[in-house]
Each structure stands twice: as structure tokens, then as C-alpha cells.
Amino acid sequence: MTSRTAEGTNLSGYHVEIQIEKRKMRSAFAIFLFSMSVPYFMIINLRYIMIGSFVPPALDQVTGAIQTILLVISLFTAVASVRRMQKVDGVGYKRMIDATLLIGGIGTLMQVYELWYHPMNPMSHYGESFLATIGLAIVMGIIGLFVLVAGRERVKRVGVTDEKQLGYELASWFWVFTVITWLALYIELYLL
């Protein structure tokens, strides 16, 4: 830590504190994401244990593809919101979050539709894997949307400061995480 603080010798003590604080937040967030990726790893494995690589022909490939495309678009808007935030542009951030919420929300709703109108029997091994996997994606998606809404409301009420900036960014990065994990699940469920 001493060596790290030494590199910013021109910074005042207060700024060093903020830098350390941000590094702490980022690393804890990374640990959290690492921890959260364990269930995804498990559920992908579980599907192959249960049913191998069988993909039923009755699967609704169109809806799956559309929702995945929507979620990928929302990934880009989420990254754009991070860029806006790094430029300390609260309004731009809010606009990008709105876009992410809209597109990502539709994508998540389509996932709920898939869960509801699953064309395969839940008592089959593919069916149970499908339901559990897409359920995990939906739950994490709803949490991600909730966090985005919180960030949006907070930026409206509190605004952006150097100190608070990272919290907004991490809210967006969590959404990026849910989308990337969904991509893995999509490839596993619909393609392989």
C-alpha cells in the first residue's frame, strides 16, 4: 500500500484516501462477482450432468435470440453510462441508464415469457435445467435492474461527486455482469 500511495506524490492526503477507497470498492466488487459466478458455473455443469448437450427442437430459438440481442444492446448502453459517469456527466448517465432499463427490462421480460411458456416438460431433465437456469438469470436480472433504478434515483437526488462516482459505475458494471453471464447461459441452453 505504501508503494501505491507513493506513486501519487502530488496528490493530497485526501485524494490518496479516495483512491484507496475506490481501489477497495473495486476489489470487493471483483470478489463479489467472483463469488456470484460460482452459481453460474455450477448450474452450467449441472445441466451437462443431467442431460448432456441435448437441445430440444421445440425450444423457442427466436425469442431466445431476440432477448439476447436486446440484453447485449443494454450491455453497451450500460458501458456507455459508465463512460458518461467517468466524465462526471450525471445527466448523460441518467439517460444511458434509462436506455439500459428500457432495453434490459424488455429483455428480462422476454426471459419471464420464456419461463412462463416453456415448451418442454418441467419433469424432463432438459426442462428442469432450462427452468432453473433461466430462473437464475431472471432473479439476477431483476436484482441488476433494481440496482440500476437505485443508481438512477440517486443521481437525480444526490448528483455526482468524485467520491460518489464509483458507486454509480459499479451499479452499471453489475448489469454488465448479469448480461455476460446470461450470454454464457444462452450459449449453453440454446446452442450447445
Partner: protein, 623 residues
């Protein structure tokens, strides 16, 4: 991190009279449960005959109750609303009331964890006493039905494992001591920590209330497909464990970040205290394996509620067993790794000698952590393919090597030292003796051929109680006596402390030592009814068990008494060099008035510094 504490600052303008947080939490939890439960049971998914409680309604109702509890306890004002940018001025109540509410002070959180854990320990201990009363007879007499006995076993094991074993030394002592040990005034995420502690009472209550939903007879492992056939009580087992493991997960993320980023200046990795190393390794285990078991339990809930066939007889019950023990064996090391670290923390202080071969102690902790993920299937020798046995047997035997490093370090430290035989050091030595027996019997269990006989008998029961009680609970007691002056500025009565140590030692080794023999004579687990030839020894075991139970009660009363009205001592009665003792005892609101700077090793007692004066009179704290 913004710490919601208003010390000497003027009180905020709006002072709304708030209900006591615990009461409000309970109220909101009740309302949350009723509303969501009724919504699911009567509107969204009415079951046949619209019963008040259905499986889905109780799951969603419980989630709402947990949310209500956490928000009511202070999560609303301190976490949820600030996340939306609404700031609510809150006042942290002074005095004892702060322990019954949301507090961001890591010392308060540590005490909250310790009290919850202790409560869980005595509740589950009471369950154990009931079991031993039943086992004094070879027929049903204390419990009317066998299922009630087996359910008691399950509640005992679940609460002990998830609210005591995983929590006391990590969430409890870790939260209290670790930030001070690394020279910080707060943990990395005090608000998360303040909330995470309240998962523990919720989890314990959930498990205790599980009989309301019906008997579950799977024991603490929730074996499938039996869990699918049992009545609904098993749902509260899953949900209770979910809450408890979530708490431990948050603690681990918090303490890892604390150790990584809150260290004082000069506290390099080479100087990091052993207990911090222990918490770091155990946190990594928690971070990997707790989400694993949580997802497994979510799938098990889906199996019941939807229902899906994952782990049922038509699915793959063996997959559940694998997934459970994948977590289940690291869990054992989640419990004992902090205990190893505490041995290495207390002994150099008592020996007044540098920690011997410190690097090997750290290597031991890390390799135990690494290997613990490779041994899980030794719990499944009786139900796996023969060809799969040997690799797991290999790693199980190998894990004793890094475990042995802890012994090597401690023994090397005591060798030719000036060892103070105090109550904490006595407890550490007892813990090491008991864990040694646990480890040695583990060699027999690691051998598949012997395992086929010993598995699921009282031999295994004795073995894991020797590792968990012997390893962790004895160390917990050692740590409580060791840090007691830190908590309170007071000291225990050494005669009473020694009496307490010998008392639990006799009760423990008597009860569980005889259980080895009982298991070898053919007593299997989970049976309230057994052949008559086993009764005589069971009565003796029960008597020792009651002695043990009273011994724990005695130690509890003694520790509480000492905290309130023990003899006052100097601030650093052990002349320890670790940072937590360089603060006031009990510590101030801010442990360190100024950020400490570390210039040397914490375990170095060879230098001739004048920090500590040699007491002229016989030290009141030594025996």
C-alpha cells in the same frame, strides 16, 4: 466509507421517536410474511382447499419476512433509502441499546455476532441434551416419536454448523478483533456488516421454527431424496441455512477487503498477524463454497415447490450428495482454520517467544484451504464407485500434513520458552489435544476399507465432534478468555477459569471418547431406538454429556460475570505486541486516536524494547 455515526456532533434536526429496532423488525417481518403469504396462498397460487400455508407461499412469505426484518432493524434508513439517494437522519442510540439495533461500529457488530452465536450454541446444545436424555433408554421414552428425535438431531447440527461453527470465530471475533489487529478504526464495509449480522438471528429462528411446518428427518445434511419426501419443515432448514450462509458470505467479503485495504502503514504481508491470515484463507473458502451450497439449496427448494426432479429418485440423488459435500468438507475447514490461527496467535504471547517457523504456519493454512476442496467424496465412500475412492483417500490423508504444520509451529514456539500456563493457554493446549484425536481417528476414516465399517456410526459422530468442538469450541473459549480484558477491561478469576477448562475437558473427552467405542460396537447414527446391549454405555455417555453441557454453562456464566464485575486489569495484561492490545481496554469508540505505524514484527519478543515493564508482584493474570 461514510460511517453513520454522530459522536459529539449536534443532533440532527428531525428527531423522530423510533420503535426499538428489534421490535420494529419483528413487526415488519410478521407483516411481510402475512401479506406475501396470503397473496401467494389465496390469490396467485391457491392450493387445493386454499390452505393458509402452502409450500410456495411459505417460501415467498419467508423472503418477505427476512426483508421486513432487515429493513425494520435499520436497513431502511441506513441502506435502502440512501441507495436511492434519500438521506434520513438517524441517531445511533447510546448504551446497551446500540447492541439491539443497526450499528456500524465493528466492535458492536462483533459482540452482536458473538451473542447470536452463543445463543445458537446453547439452543443447539439444549437440543443435544434432549438427544442424550432420549438415548439413555433404548426405546422411545423422552420423545414420543422417532421422527421428533431425528428432527432434533437435524436442528442441533444445522444451528451448530451454520450459526456457531462458521460464525463465532469469523463473524464474531473476526469482526471485533481483525480491524483493530491491522490498525484500522473500522472494517471495510461497515454498513454491509451492520446489516449482515441480523441475518444470524433470523436464520437461527427459521431453523428453530421449522417443526411448525412439519417434521424433517434428514439431519443437517438434508440428504436427497429423503428431503423431498419429508414434510415441509425441510423448507425452513433450507431457508434458515440460506440466511446464515449469506451472513457469513458478507462477513467474508467485508473482512477480506478490510485486510487487503485497511491495513495500517507498515503492516506488510510479512507482518500480517496469523489470525488475519486465518481469516483471509477462510474467507476465500467462504467466498467460493457458500454460494455453491446456496444454489444447491435453492435447487432443492425448487424440487419441492415447483416441483422439479433434480434430486428426486427419478433425478440424480447422488448429484445432491456431491454438491452438498463439495461444500460440506470445506465447511469443516471453514470452522477449524480460524482456530489454528488463534492457536498461533495466543501461544507466542503466552510463551514470550517469536512465533516459530511462521512461514510454515501460513503455508499450512493456505494448503489446508487448497486441499479442502479436493477431499469431499470421502463422505461418500459407501456410495461411490470403487475406482473413485482412492484419489479422495489420497488427498484426505495428505491434508493432515499442512494441518500438522500448525502443531509444528505451536510446539516449536513453546519449546524452551517462558510459557505462562494461563486459562487461554490451557484451553489452547486442550484444543490441540482434542483436535489431535480428531485428526488421528480421521486417518482411520480416510481408509476406504475401514471407512465402510465406521461410516454412519457413532465413531464418525465422535470424530467430527473432536474436530469441531475439540478444535473450534475449545479455541473459541480460549479466545474468549484471552480477549476478555480487551472486551471489558476486566479479567476472569483464574481458579474458576481453570475449573471451567478442566470441567469441559472431562465432560467432552468422556462423552465423545466413549462414543468411539460405542460406534465400534455397532451403534449407528440417527437412532433413538437401539439394541439393548448398547444401553449401558449410552447412559454413561449421557452423564458425561450433561457434565459437558453444565460445563459450557459454567464457562458462559463465568465469562459474563468477569465482563461485568471481574477484577480490573491493566490495558495489556498479556503484554502482547499485536495491535489490538495497543488500544484502550475496552476500546474507545475510535480504537486508535491516531493511525498506528508498524515498524517491527508482532511476534518478536527478543528485542530489548522498553515498552513493557516486568511486573514486580506476581502477575494477577498468570496462574
Amino acid at each position: 466509507m461514510s460511517v453513520a455515526r454522530i459522536g459529539g456532533a449536534p443532533l440532527p434536526l428531525r428527531r423522530k421517536k423510533m420503535m426499538p429496532p428489534v421490535i420494529r423488525g419483528l413487526l415488519w417481518a410478521g407483516i411481510g410474511f402475512l401479506v406475501i403469504n396470503c397473496l401467494v396462498a389465496y390469490v396467485l397460487d391457491p392450493g387445493y382447499g386454499t390452505p393458509f400455508i402452502t409450500q410456495p407461499s411459505v417460501v415467498f412469505g419467508w423472503l418477505a419476512a427476512l426483508a421486513g426484518w432487515l429493513l425494520g432493524i435499520g436497513g431502511l434508513e441506513n441502506v435502502l433509502l440512501p441507495a436511492f439517494g434519500i438521506s434520513v437522519p438517524t441517531v445511533e442510540v447510546p448504551g446497551w441499546r446500540r447492541y439491539f439495533g443497526y450499528s456500524t461500529n465493528h466492535k458492536v457488530i462483533g459482540i452482536q455476532y458473538l451473542v447470536s452465536s452463543t445463543a445458537g450454541f446453547f439452543i443447539a446444545g439444549l437440543a443435544a441434551m434432549f438427544m442424550r436424555i432420549q438415548l439413555m433408554g433404548n426405546h422411545m421414552w423422552f420423545f414420543p416419536y422417532a421422527g421428533q428425535y431425528i428432527e432434533t438431531v437435524g436442528i442441533h447440527g444445522t444451528i451448530m454448523m451454520f450459526s456457531v461453527g462458521t460464525v463465532a470465530l469469523v463473524g464474531g471475533l473476526g469482526n471485533y478483533v481483525i480491524p483493530m489487529m491491522i490498525g484500522s478504526n473500522s472494517s471495510a464495509f461497515p454498513r454491509m456488516s451492520a446489516l449482515s449480522v441480523w441475518f444470524v438471528p433470523a436464520g437461527i429462528m427459521t431453523v428453530i421454527l421449522s417443526p411448525l411446518l412439519g417434521q424433517w428427518t434428514t439431519g443437517w445434511r438434508g440428504y436427497e431424496p429423503l428431503a423431498q419426501n419429508d414434510p415441509n419443515g425441510i423448507l425452513f432448514y433450507y431457508l434458515g441455512v440460506f440466511a446464515l450462509t449469506l451472513s457469513s458470505l458478507l462477513v467474508s467479503i467485508n473482512l477480506t477487503s478490510t485486510i487487503l485495504f485497511k491495513r495500517a502503514k507498515g503492516l506488510t504481508w510479512n507482518r500480517l498477524p496469523m489470525y488475519a491470515w486465518g481469516i483471509l484463507t477462510v474467507s476465500l473458502l467462504n467466498i467460493i463454497w457458500l454460494p455453491e451450497i446456496e444454489l444447491t439449496f435453492v435447487l432443492a427448494i425448487l424440487d419441492r415447490v415447483v416441483p422439479l426432479p433434480f434430486f428426486t429418485a427419478v433425478g440424480s440423488p447422488m448429484t445432491y450428495l456431491e454438491l452438498f459435500w463439495l461444500f460440506g468438507h470445506p465447511e469443516v475447514y471453514i470452522i477449524v482454520v480460524p482456530a489454528f490461527a488463534i492457536w498461533m496467535e495466543i501461544i507466542p504471547v503466552m510463551a514470550r517467544k517469536p512465533l516459530f517457523a511462521r512461514e510454515w504456519g501460513i503455508i499450512g493454512l493456505i494448503f489446508v484451504m487448497l486441499l479442502s476442496g479436493l477431499v469431499w467424496a470421502h463422505h461418500m465412500f459407501t456410495n461411490m464407485r470403487l475406482t473413485e475412492m482412492l484419489p479422495f483417500s489420497f488427498f484426505t490423508e495428505m491434508i493432515s500434513i499442512p494441518t500438522g504444520f500448525a502443531y509444528m509451529v505451536v510446539i516449536g514456539t513453546i519449546w524452551r520458552s517462558r510459557f505462562r500456563l494461563t486459562v487461554p493457554s490451557l484451553f489452547v493446549l486442550m484444543s490441540m489435544f482434542n483436535f489431535l484425536i480428531g485428526g488421528m481417528t480421521g486417518v482411520f476414516l480416510a481408509d476406504p476399507v475401514i471407512n465402510l465399517q465406521l461410516h454412519d456410526t457413532f465413531f464418525v459422530v465422535a470424530h467430527f465432534h473432536f474436530t469441531v468442538i475439540g478444535g473450534m469450541v475449545f479455541t473459541w473459549l480460549a479466545a474468549m478468555y484471552y480477549w476478555l480484558p480487551k472486551f471489558s477491561g476486566r479479567i476472569y478469576n483464574s481458579k474458576m477459569g481453570i475449573l471451567g477448562a478442566i470441567w469441559v475437558f472431562i465432560g467432552f473427552d468422556g462423552a465423545f471418547g466413549l462414543m468411539f467405542i460405542q460406534g465400534l460396537r455397532g451403534m449407528n447414527r440417527w437412532v433413538p431406538v437401539y439394541p439393548p446391549y448398547l444401553q449401558g454405555l449410552n447412559i454413561i455417555i449421557s452423564i458425561f454429556a450433561f457434565v459437558l453441557g453444565l460445563g459450557f454453562l459454567f464457562n458462559l456464566i463465568h465469562v459474563v460475570w468477569a465482563m461485568k464485575s471481574g477484577k480490573k486489569v491493566q490495558e495489556n495484561p498479556w503484554q502482547s505486541k499485536t495491535l489490538e492490545w495497543q488500544t484502550a481496554s475496552p476500546p474507545e469508540e475510535e480504537s486508535f486516536a491516531a493511525a498506528p505505524v508498524i515498524t517491527g514484527s508482532f511476534y518478536d519478543y527478543e528485542d530489548t524494547d522498553g515498552t513493557y515493564t516486568i511486573p514486580t508482584a506476581p502477575d494477577p493474570v498468570s496462574m
